[in-house]
């Protein structure tokens, strides 16, 4: 079996970067200095992952939450109140969507944002790099809006195409932190020109996902795996816990992989690693490196 590994989403910052951001928030260092510090930390993160051939997104050190920079660079979306992220003790600014306009700034350029460290949205990096975008369905569920989902989806697809087009990126991780209801439909068929790795949460129901995707990476159950296999080229499983400091064992994970009947599989983690202390997240990446070998 061929095993592809994926690390996605916001990654915990080093203490140095955390303090640097703190100084920036107090106005003690300029945007540009913070930007170069963030870029340097991103490069170091990429270097570890590339050495181990791990597919990855930008570690998003300059994203305060998984929606905010996109909201701040899009016409028609305001930042609402701090709101609890699922059942965690972490909070995000709830988007208030008045209408879905276009991008108001170049995602590739360095630009200061209010209430968030500055752009660029990503610092792209080599063959293993994927863009990161929140799924339209979770984006909608985590927002406050009078728009119908259909209208929102049309707007967000246009927006995502604009972002990926401007950055000339073809590979993208689309992340759905909110579990699907039985009747939820995430239709990504209009984004078929991109290689999409969709990371889902919780139970999948047949019919939840439309469009032929490169991969659907889900919590590992037999039912989820079957849906993933039927709807994507390479099925994916989340076998590392991003909510627990307890370390999984490579042997245990390899054993699960041995029991899976597939030629190729993607292994990833449950929830992005920003809910863990940096030291543990680094250990989990080390562990991921050893999977399948």
């Amino acid at each position: 079996m061929e095993v592809e590994k994926l690390v996605y989403g916001i990654y915990p910052k080093t203490n140095e970067l955390r303090l640097h951001i703190g100084r920036w928030e107090k106005g003690r260092i300029p945007d540009a200095s913070l930007n170069s510090e963030i870029e340097s930390e991103k490069r170091s993160f990429y270097s570890t992952l590339n050495e181990n051939s791990i597919e990855h997104t930008d570690p998003l050190f300059n994203w305060y939450d998984i929606l905010r920079p996109i909201c701040l660079m899009t016409d028609g979306i305001d930042l609402g109140p701090l709101s609890r992220f699922k059942e965690t003790n972490s909070f995000y600014r709830m988007p208030v969507i008045n209408y879905m306009g276009g991008l108001t700034m170049d995602p590739a350029d360095f630009s200061p944002l209010n209430e968030n460290p500055p752009l660029p949205l990503y610092v792209p990096d080599g063959n293993h790099f994927n863009a990161f975008l929140p799924s339209p369905l979770s984006f909608y569920k985590m927002s406050r809006t009078m728009l119908s989902y259909d209208k929102f989806q049309a707007g967000v697809e246009k927006l995502y195409r604009e972002i990926l087009g401007q950055l000339k990126l073809r590979k993208v991780v689309i992340y759905d932190p909110i579990p699907y209801g039985e009747k939820d439909v995430l239709d990504l068929s209009s984004l078929s020109e991109f290689q999409i790795r969709l990371v889902t949460t919780g139970k999948l129901y047949p019919g939840n996902i439309k469009g032929r995707l490169y991969s659907i990476i889900s919590d590992y159950t037999q039912e989820n795996f079957e849906i993933s296999r039927l709807n994507s080229a390479v099925p994916g499983v989340k076998l590392i816990d991003g909510y627990s400091t307890k370390m999984e064992s490579v042997v245990g994970i390899n054993k699960i992989l041995d029991s899976i009947d597939a030629d190729r599989v993607i292994v990833s983690h449950r929830e992005y690693f920003d809910f863990l202390p940096r030291m543990i997240a680094d250990r989990k990446i080390e562990l991921i490196s050893g999977i399948g070998e």
Binding site: R18, R84, Y243, S244, P277, R278
Partner: protein, 341 residues
């Protein structure tokens, strides 16, 4: 202390700079105690000027943060580093790696100081077992229930010690303890864990008034549904944050307080409400009339002996000046209402 509309602080208040800037450096030293005591004294003085009946523990000057303060004093918890809460704000989230036991008392130093100064109108905030469980990583216990119950046993031991200390100074007088449980309604299917762990925490402790403080819940109704099963006397809750800033006594003017009708329907055991009447996340100082409207609206739902008034949560997020003004207006509002009652 009046019988009706008792006013109280919920817990934390802004630390003076001379303490906040050196807190971690001097923690546990003689200097830490000297400065914490000085800050406590000043804050109590401010609370008295603002007219508060109950002074809590003087703004929690001995504590930096509600989780870490307790977790640091428990054996069996290891810290691997900070975890982000929002933006660039972090907290130390511990990992439970072995059986929990108390390393040193969480709050006896604070209580000893207050007793040495002869304060008796106090309320001790203690972070509750469910929140301690929810905010920790668990590498050791079987499940979340077992983890919460382990914390509950520790809290029971700690509160028994605090009670003993209190009794040595004020025998026969009730001690007020507030169990802070902000995580309470974050997992709707775990309300039984909340009930069982809180009940275990207070088990066998007589002559205490127990309250819980829950803030920023998305749905208090799930708490109201089980409140009669929890052995507590009252609930100190946040309402102003979800209310309108317009004056008025109608349901549409007071959307933040409408839920109290549901509370009172279920309130067969006559638990009191600590009514949050001022929002701790905005600098806007709610006018006396607005606070009066919030209280009077509530008095249309429940009797005055079941209503206390407080800010939504600790005022540490506001400057000392704004915190004071908010408390002052709260006191003026309730005093005007008391005259009218």
């Amino acid at each position: 202390m009046g019988k009706y509309l008792i006013s109280q602080e919920i817990g934390s208040f802004r630390k003076p700079k001379y303490l906040s800037t050196v807190f971690h450096k001097i923690y546990g030293t003689d200097e830490y105690y000297r400065l914490s005591e000085k800050a406590t004294e000043e804050t109590i003085d401010l609370f008295r000027h603002a007219g508060l009946d109950n002074i809590g523990v003087g703004g929690e000057m001995f504590r930096w943060e509600m989780y870490e303060h307790q977790a640091n004093r428990i054996n069996g918890i290891e810290f691997y580093g900070p975890v982000r809460s929002f933006d660039n704000r972090y907290y130390k989230k511990g990992s439970i790696v072995q059986d929990l036991s108390i390393k040193e008392s969480f709050h006896s130093d604070e209580l000893e100081y207050l007793l040495s100064r002869d304060y008796s109108n106090i309320k001790i905030p203690v972070t509750g077992p469910y929140t301690m469980m929810d905010w920790s990583f668990n590498e050791h216990y079987r499940d979340r229930y077992e983890t919460a119950m382990a914390f509950a046993s520790l809290l029971n031991e700690e509160m028994k010690n605090l009670k003993k200390l209190w009794d040595s100074k004020y025998p026969g007088k009730k001690l007020e303890i507030q169990l802070d449980e902000p995580a309470t309604t974050t997992h709707p299917d775990e309300m039984q864990i909340v009930v069982d762990s809180l009940n275990r925490s207070v088990e066998g402790i007589d002559n205490c008034e127990f309250t819980i403080h829950v803030c920023y819940s998305t749905d208090y109704r799930m708490l109201y549904d089980v409140m009669n099963d929890i052995k507590i006397d009252g609930l100190n809750l946040e309402f102003a944050n979800r209310d309108s800033l317009d004056p008025g006594l109608s349901d549409s003017s007071r959307p933040g307080y409408e839920d109290l009708k549901y509370f009172q329907q279920l309130n067969t055991r006559k638990k009191f409400i600590g009514l949050g009447v001022t929002d701790v996340h905005i600098d806007y100082i709610e006018p006396v009339q607005l606070i009066k409207d919030r209280i009077n609206y509530t008095l249309g739902i429940m009797p005055p002996e079941l209503v206390r008034v407080n800010p939504d949560c600790g005022l540490r997020t506001r400057s000392v000046e704004i915190g004071y003004e908010k408390l002052k207006n709260m006191d003026t509002a309730r005093k005007e209402i008391l005259k009218e009652l």
